[in-house]
Subunit: 509 residues, 2 copies
């Protein structure tokens, strides 16, 4: 399938005339062909009109059809074969194995939601029987189910060109909920986006779904994205990216005549608590594992361990030594884009030059867009006094806060903003400490984990990949796992309806 650089609207490929943008190979510094034409306001308008038109038809298809459609997308993505992997590797700088793994995760996710659709629990169908004899008034019959919100705008993440992108978790869960999707491609993986978009578009056509069920738009600036969020026909937004981008969309969404929900997964430093018993028992082992985790995928995971909290002492020094030694062995890795690499270097340099911060270790140096891992340390008191130190540095850098005691560690955790994950390394002797910290940990993060790091995010029923603001714009939600579908649903109740007029799933209830 050739990559043509076109927007995908109404079942067709349409050349955008609103400027041009090209992909970039961060490994080689090369610009990649072809040019992608930015969508015009008319393209956006057409995509929104079609999505709005498609909504009632698409959402009222039998669940089996909807499930088969999601599976067809997965099949079509696999059928792209090496063309997809090659292009994705070239655009993202990610290693081939990682891209293949992410592809597996992406199609697995589509199939996971197909199963959820088939099972139908997400509809939460329920009935209250009538009681004709109730006094003073008869009790009516009520039946309820969830319905989709309407067309959803999906914004791809830079750091997951497949799993959090055009046919990633937001798209899969929105389509599963019965909502048409208009996806906006990320400039970091334009060709990948088109290939995936074509796979979805083909599935739409093959299933005989209305053409407005899916569209893909390219943008040479921010106008298309902003226009999508502002458009009255869009009823929800899925976004993975920066805090600035997410909060800008939240603002636009709230200022609409009809405000809409924005599900933005944004910013998290994912604190790791190293408790005394664990350090005493296995400081070196944790240090080595930490170094591997913080550098996974060049540190470009939303769940990257950007902050370590522990009480200062000899055991912590053992951890530091081990982590530093391991980190020093690890090669620099190509980052996703030149812009992300530049931001990372700036963030690292801010820490290096911070008067209160000491550099503990560096990974091996790199070239071009390669990010060199780094570990810093600061005292608890200094960390508390400078909120700038609480900010995310996106990449393979982490800050170890040496606390005076557990009380200071707890104070620091209390002052932190909302997080995607909090990990705690513990031994049996730490149980009491964990019990006293647990309520606070629950208030601060969507996922708590023991003796591990948050960098692996399972696509499964009990996964929560969300957390209090600013980890996500809406801490009631998760962007990964079965609950992700709930983001795009609302309840509707049917009172005293003749069975013949009810939707299929309520008819025989």
């Amino acid at each position: 399938m050739p990559i043509t650089g076109e927007n995908l609207i109404d079942g067709k490929a349409i050349h955008g005339t609103n400027g041009e943008v090209r992909a970039f190979n961060p490994n080689t510094g090369e610009t990649l062909e072809p040019a992608f034409g930015g969508a015009t306001q008319a393209d956006l308008d057409r995509a929104c009109a079609l999505a709005s038109e498609a909504f009632d038809d698409y959402r009222n298809r039998p669940l089996e059809e909807r499930a088969a459609f999601l599976e067809a997308i997965a099949d079509n993505i696999m059928a792209l074969g090496d063309e997809l992997v090659d292009r994705c590797v070239a655009e993202s700088g990610l290693m081939r194995g990682r891209v293949e793994g992410e592809r597996g995760r992406t199609v697995g996710q589509l199939r996971f939601f197909a199963q959820i659709v088939r099972k139908g629990d997400f509809l939460r169908v329920v009935k209250d029987a009538a009681d004709e004899d109730r006094k003073p008034a008869r009790k009516p019959e009520l039946k309820a189910r969830m319905v989709g919100l309407g067309p959803v705008a999906v914004f791809s993440a830079s750091n997951f060109p497949l799993a959090f992108s055009i046919a990633g978790g937001d798209t899969a869960s929105a389509l599963a909920a019965g909502c048409p999707v208009i996806a906006k491609a990320h400039s970091a993986h334009l060709g990948t986006s088109e290939l995936i978009g074509r796979a979805v578009q083909k599935a739409v056509a093959d299933a005989g779904l209305p053409s407005g069920t899916f569209a893909l738009l390219f943008d040479t600036g921010r106008k298309v994205g902003q226009g999508l969020v502002a458009d009255s026909r869009i009823k929800a937004v899925g976004f993975t990216g920066s805090r600035g981008g997410g909060t800008a969309f939240m603002k636009i969404a709230q200022e609409r005549a009809e405000p809409i929900p924005v599900y933005a997964e944004m910013s998290s430093i994912n604190p790791v608590l190293l408790l005394q018993g664990a350090l005493s028992e296995r400081a070196e082992k944790i240090g080595a594992a930490f170094a591997q985790s913080v550098t996974l995928g060049a540190g470009q995971f939303c769940t990257n361990p950007g902050l370590l909290l522990a009480v200062a002492g000899d055991d912590l020094t053992r951890f530091e030594k081990s982590a530093a030694e391991e980190l020093a062995k690890l090669p620099a890795q190509t980052m996703l884009t030149a812009g992300i690499h530049k931001s990372y270097e700036e963030g690292v340099s801010r820490l290096e030059n911070h008067a209160a911060v000491t550099t503990l270790a560096h990974g091996q140096a790199g070239q071009n867009c390669q990010g060199q891992a780094a570990l810093f340390t600061v005292s608890g008191q200094e960390f508390l006094s400078d909120p700038a130190l609480h900010e995310e540095v996106f990449g393979a850098a982490s800050l170890l806060v040496r606390c005076q005691n557990m009380a200071e560690l707890q104070t620091i955790l209390e002052k932190l903003e909302g997080q995607l994950t909090i990990a705690v390394h513990l031994a049996d002797s730490d149980s009491e400490s964990v019990r006293s910290l647990l309520p606070l940990m629950e208030r601060r993060a969507g996922r708590l984990l023991v003796n591990g790091f948050g960098t692996g995010v399972e696509v499964s029923t009990a996964m929560v990949h969300g957390g209090p603001f600013p980890a996500t714009s809406d801490g009631r939600s998760t962007s990964v796992g079965a609950l992700a579908i709930d983001r795009f649903l609302r309840p509707v109740s049917y009172q005293d309806f003749p069975a013949a007029l009810l939707p299929a799933e309520l008819r025989d209830l």
Copy 2:
């Protein structure tokens, strides 16, 4: 129990020194004793600090304790006996039978949520088993449950001094979710609020719960309410009231450092579709039933039928005649406050003086704060051309839109904003019309009902009392029924936790 006019904070009654406000009897025009002292900024701050402190303790009590606490509130409200009913009748102008009925609904709602808490389904506990042998990496164990958002600010409605007030649906569902509540009393029923607040406060003390689990504040202006929504310790807002009030709170909530959800039930005109078959079969009967429904509780229901849509013709004329005759017999009824009565009169007068609007009927005239029912009519074309005609007139007034044909009726429905309810009156011969309208109805409202009016709102599992903006600020939610508890919950996932450290409900999962 004497009414003292005090704020209820920290298990005590505290005289507010921030101005004074007194209740008003809309039937007699009398001011009622005592004076209520407005909460100061220090009072508000103390209530928020205590609620925040109470949160972890309260939410971690066994579910049975939480359920018994809700039931104790219900018992304490019933134990107030006639004192509560007398004061509520005096303050609200509502009839005694209505107040007693609303009290039954309120305690029934508390007991309904006690059952939901006991059952525990709202926790949505779920487990993904570990797979130690999975390649390339082991699959961790994940368990998840819902936890409360944190302290909730609850704002009472003017029109339901019990059921949507201090211990109404928002408070019951927030407490059921494990969230402390700070309630702000409505000036339309100050004494009722204090009595109910004392009933809750007593239940908190008797159950040995932390004093911050509940507080009641009085406000002489808007500062306390605005301060509550802005306070960083408040994590969600429940509100029933005007569109202006609700959207103002939405704005404050979004501008916080940590934005929070606002559940505001605001504005709905609850369209009633009169289809041809139904009119032909029983126009008179529907007309008479409509007149009874639009005047229920002086028309002061969120679900009051404020808009009728039908195709013009002889059968519609029969409906009009019947509704007008019935309405003319109905007495004026005392409205809740002088302010609400004044707004109603202004709204009615705007319609009466609108060039395109014809007055079809009036109810009997009244005195003081009594509202006179009114029915108006306008053509479909004129209705479409003037959005001001789409606005709610809170009270016993309704506007009948005479459509040219079903296509125009559909266009009108398409142009309307989100609604709490849409009712449709139909006969067998209308089935095709309903089928073609149903997808649109589902997009416009939270509850659809056949051959009735939306004025009765069951407290039950399948009830949805919410709808797309501006019916509610958050169309994904309902403020009545089992799903109301979901508004105050967020998911938390526990990865690889030793059983001993898990919350009780996840331990043996």
